[in-house]
Amino acid sequence: MQISDREIEIFQEMINIGIGRAGATLNQILSTHIELNVPHISVLSLPDYLKQTKKENEIFSAVEMGFDGPFPGAAHLIFSNKSAAQLVSALVGDEVKNDEIDEIKSGTLSEIGNILLNSVMGSISNILQDHFNYSVVEYMEGTLKNLIERSFRETTLLIIAETNFYIQEMEIDGQIAILMTLKSFEIMEKAIGKII
């Protein structure tokens, strides 16, 4: 499937608006200053995405929010396990008791995912002048293939936004992935065509 530079530019703009809002929101909630940016966006088929990451067996942490409306799909915030641990540690410190680590990690990442994914999907919805219904965010761990298959079985295309978190002079890498079908993508292209 051919995706034009113009379309990539529009995705970048929609996602940047959402990320900008999410950054401001997270700064209000968290006691630590956090900056977000999205240096690169790509649209890939599922096999190409899995091939490109070259991390078939690595376990990732992800927050998933399903959506339905003009088209169905799911949005993910994905971190390597190392990045997830760094992010949580930077935000809540090292004072967490051992028996609380899992709950704090999933709770913190879920809330960050909730704000970030709502900001990104909400910006897309507002720009397209449409409405999505969301599912409750869910924290998951697994290989990329497992995470995507568990979340939205019909995934054929992914919009991948590399996302950098800057916290306390640390750079933590993550990804926002919007999972959809080819048909969903075509519906979104048409909706974008109406507003530009």
């Binding site: 929101t25 909630i29 909730n114 709502n118 900001s119 919805s125 409405h131 999505f132 969301y134 409750v136």
Partner: protein, 118 residues
């Protein structure tokens, strides 16, 4: 003492709301979903409600639809991460006191609270 019901499945957001209001003398009651919240409404004399929308099992819309005493709607401030214009319009049509995106600005929150807690 005023009784404030905080309905949110995220303990981080419940704690955050409590922290924001800590300087005031409030009694906080917490609920993680709409069903727990309805039970809390029956068991306490609630002065103000902070309501999240997206929660497992029984969500914020379920809670709004289930409220029998319609005067209670005017004591509800919806706090949601959902920034869609369509969601804001739908929620305000219930007649709630306010709809604020998470996290609300302190002055906005204070203004709405002052209107409710007269």
């Amino acid at each position: 003492m005023k009784h404030i019901l905080i309905i949110d499945d995220s303990f981080i957001m419940r704690n955050w709301v409590k922290k924001l209001l800590n300087k005031e003398n409030f009694n906080f009651i917490e609920a993680a979903n709409g069903k727990e919240a309805l039970e809390a409404l029956e068991n306490h004399n609630i002065d103000l409600v902070f309501l999240d929308l997206l929660m497992p099992q029984y969500d914020g819309i379920f809670f709004l639809d289930s409220i029998k005493n319609k005067n209670m709607l005017q004591k509800i401030i919806v706090l949601s991460a959902d920034i869609q214009d369509t969601t804001r319009k739908k929620i305000l049509s219930y007649g709630v006191a306010g709809f604020l995106n998470k996290p609300p600005k302190e002055e906005e929150l204070q203004r709405l609270m002052n209107n409710i807690l007269v």
